[in-house]
Amino acid sequence: MSVPVERIDQFVPGFAPFDAIGSHVLELRRLLRARGFPSDIWGEHIDPRVGADARPYRECPPRSEGRVLLYQLSTGSPMAAWLAEAAAAGQPVWANYHNITPARYFARWEPEAAASMVTARQEMAALAPVAARALAVSGYNETELIAAGYPSTATAPLLVDLDRYHDDPDPAVLARLQRRRDGGGATWLFVGRIAPNKCQHHLIGALALYRRFHDPRARLTLVGGVTSPRYLHSLRRLSAQLGVTDAVEILDGLPTPALLAHFATADVFVCMSEHEGFCVPVLEAFELGVPVVAYRAAALPETVADAGVLLDSKDPLEVADAVAGLLADEARRAGLVKAGRARASAYALPVTSARTIEVIEGWLEGGGPGPLPA
């Protein structure tokens, strides 16, 4: 006889504040508790800033009646084997899949990280037969779950509180950026970790040609923590090689008010990333009224939909021309800003929370959730 589920605990390999998965995990815990499910967070690497919100997973009792273990699957971790053992012992294990970067992107830059990604994919495959349910944050991710053999899957978007992007931007940063903007030239913005799969080199290449043929005073701001120092080094060298060092700003670890100042002064958000399981920064751009130009890859067509310019080519000249075409056409730009805001509202926290609860409660009642609304 099956025991009714009374609590749902989350397991997170790397738990940090402000990043997409950390924020999602905290929102999900709030949501589960609000629905009457006690819920705790167990981590492998716990950032001290959220130390009060999580405990080391090794301290978690592996077996407990009426409990679901929900694994936030995004990277390699010994936690996966621990959860597989718990599942083998009869403990229900579910997965929440955020995608794993393919190792080929990191092989030439960070071979150790690439090896870890290979391990993560192996762990994902090993969990498939024992994870009773698997929730994906995008349809793209769900396709991978199905291909890996997960028997019961559903999609519920990442939980992102877009309201927090309406706080005041940092006034000092805003003043500096506005002074710079007054000097002329379009500002391109991309937010995302400095990592080879995000392809910031394509942004630098496209900006170089945009400056050559359209706007010699244009600049590019790259915001994001450094995942690959070697790739960062090559980006700096590329900027020097193409003569755009002064036009490319690379910023690590910006607090939210400073990030908001960058969004407030950006003319366009350009994303050439080849691998994204969801891409929260695109939603941020939508919410903050910055038009989006993105390469059609991985989950981006799903997240962007018809609210941005999706490119089938990464040729730097075509990217430069696409951005120039958008910025020269005020009506088109305004239309995309409006469409972006509408798209962001489809991912508002009440909407995504309702979908997540629909899926989880559907599973707990023994049935499957309905399809994800378009």
Binding site: A103, R108, H201, L209
Partner: protein, 147 residues
């Protein structure tokens, strides 16, 4: 004026006209720059082949190929900083001369690596096709023998 020798109008497409020459030169420079940007994009992009290990090794060669001769001169002691600046100025020309040759050697090694990887990929592809062809022939022979 009748009978006067008329100067032909400037041929705007002619490379000999100064303005056209400038346009052509600018266009050639632009083309070179576009080609340079495209080549750089290609160099930094992930490969889609399975030869990951060879590529990783090659990436390290490429990474080390550019020799940075601009040595840092920062120091907590001002005297040491001045000394470093002095040595750098004295030895700069020599290091640049040496650095360029080492960088050229690195680039050549990297190019050789790329060529070898591509050749290996092609050979692997050919060998897979040959194995498939052989299997098909073997099956056909067995089928004929059974008849």
């Amino acid at each position: 004026m009748i009978g006067a020798t008329l100067r032909p109008p400037p041929d705007r497409g002619s490379a000999t006209h100064p303005a056209a020459a400038r346009v052509n030169q600018r266009r050639a420079e632009d083309d070179r720059y576009v080609a340079e940007v495209r080549a750089a994009m290609d160099r930094l992009s992930a490969r889609t082949t399975d030869s990951g290990e060879a590529e990783a090794a090659l990436a390290l060669v490429e990474h080390a190929a550019a020799v940075d001769v601009d040595a840092p001169v920062a120091s907590v002691a001002p005297a040491a900083r001045y000394l470093k600046v002095g040595v750098k100025r004295l030895a700069g020309w020599y290091l640049r001369y040496l650095g360029e040759q080492v960088a050229d050697l690195g680039k050549a090694t990297a190019e050789l690596g790329v060529a070898l990887i591509e050749r290996t990929d092609r050979l692997e592809g050919t060998s897979a096709a040959t194995i498939a062809e052989l299997a098909a022939l073997r099956a056909r022979v067995e089928d004929l023998e059974r008849r």
